[in-house]
Symmetry: C2
Subunit: 299 residues, 2 copies
Amino acid sequence: MVDLVILGSIGLDDIETPFGKVKNTLGGSATYAAYAASFFAKAGIISVIGKDFPEEHYSLLSSKGIDMRGVYQEEKTFRWHGFYEFDMNEAKTLKTELNSLANFQPIVPAEYKSARFVFLANTHPSHQLKVFSSIRKPELVMLDTMNLWITSEKLALLEILKKVDIIVMNDGEARMLFQTVSLVKAANEALSLGPKYIVIKKGEHGALLFTDNKHFNAPGYPLEIIKDPTGCGDCFGGALMGYLAKTRDISEKNIRKAIIYGSIIASYNAEDFSLNRLKNLTIDDIEKRYKEFSEIREF
Amino acid sequence: MVDLVILGSIGLDDIETPFGKVKNTLGGSATYAAYAASFFAKAGIISVIGKDFPEEHYSLLSSKGIDMRGVYQEEKTFRWHGFYEFDMNEAKTLKTELNSLANFQPIVPAEYKSARFVFLANTHPSHQLKVFSSIRKPELVMLDTMNLWITSEKLALLEILKKVDIIVMNDGEARMLFQTVSLVKAANEALSLGPKYIVIKKGEHGALLFTDNKHFNAPGYPLEIIKDPTGCGDCFGGALMGYLAKTRDISEKNIRKAIIYGSIIASYNAEDFSLNRLKNLTIDDIEKRYKEFSEIREF
């Protein structure tokens, strides 16, 4: 039984930041999201990998109880080579090799179809629509996207945006999609499409939740060392949905808590390359930072 | 009796934003700071204006009970001509005419010398040092600065920074002064100079307070319309100090509250050009937004 279905990419990354570089490291939106979700709930991935995908990466995901039955194997694994400059706010892409992702056709295993929670992480909108239509009766569906689909697949993206319960995107993406500098206006536009909630990720500045003329402001956690922000947005979404799947409470109040858990896992993720920090993360670490998140906004 | 002494500029601004333009409008760091402070406490300005300074501007400040005995008149008023592009995060300067500010020699009236609160708003560090030395026994001194002094007067700036209780600056300025991308590291460097607190302003993303390995994260207030962000940082500092001067409580707990009041006045200030929004601002408006600030961070 899978609590949470996650659609997204699994890849191998080469990453350079001012604090070091790594090669052939485990990455991809579904990887980060599922790993983050696994602290809270049973996640199942829908994705594709190549025949070159290292066994150790596969084992790492399985060892966290992540269901891999929705991941098939074909050709070469998707690869991304990127770097960050000093301010670390934006990933610069040096090279993308789609490989097996180029002809990806999502396959939804029978065991996933009764899942109550679905996270359509960043992938092509047509894949998001396909998976959305395959889940029988989801309680809550959240969708993430990126600038690439906003510019190249806007109509398909708008079609699936109308169907989901929560949209999650970066501040820059929200401004781009709704062509306004005001996040309040962008949020109102997003809500007018149909979704009940929009979550706007602002990196180190935290996140905003908008619904029915109300909003919630989640603080960013100021880190002394940010080694690699890759996957933080995916961790945020994965942990958010994992927490909701665990608690089975989709009230606004609980979504606020879920956003804090998302922020916690994302903040830890930035402290080291790939999944290195999350590999050693304990429930105590998570609860310790939850307490800090609570204290830092008290007045 | 003056509760709060404010050193800074008084000027005439020409401003263009995507939402309109104004000419010869009242501006300057001391103007915004004192006007914001006047909602809470009796402020006295130390500054200089020209003989061309419009009577209506002088009356406006006096009408709010702002003490102008520290403001002398000479030559022409300081003028700034700037604009904002679509993202509104950074003022671009088209022209600065220092005029009377070029030879400014701060004069501290006898009635100001026993003030308990001092806000050294953005001016030349040597003026800040002079005023600092003239106040007999201040309970709390806060200092603001800008990139210009960080690059051109770094040694003088560091000298005065060591003496004050609170440093307030933008995130970009903190990163520039302490040559690190990490705000946590910048804050630790600032605290190691001597001050008990550092407040980092992040514009629409709110503000951070750092002290003794603790921090506070004040949310930004998401505005639907931002017409003109000029003076928001000065309003933030002025209201923060005004609230502290009013309550005479300089505990960390109360400084957190003061930061929220600073954020409230700054958020209103951005809603219209010059002091236009603040002119019509009521105590009820302030308390209404305080309640909202409280609700938007609840989880």
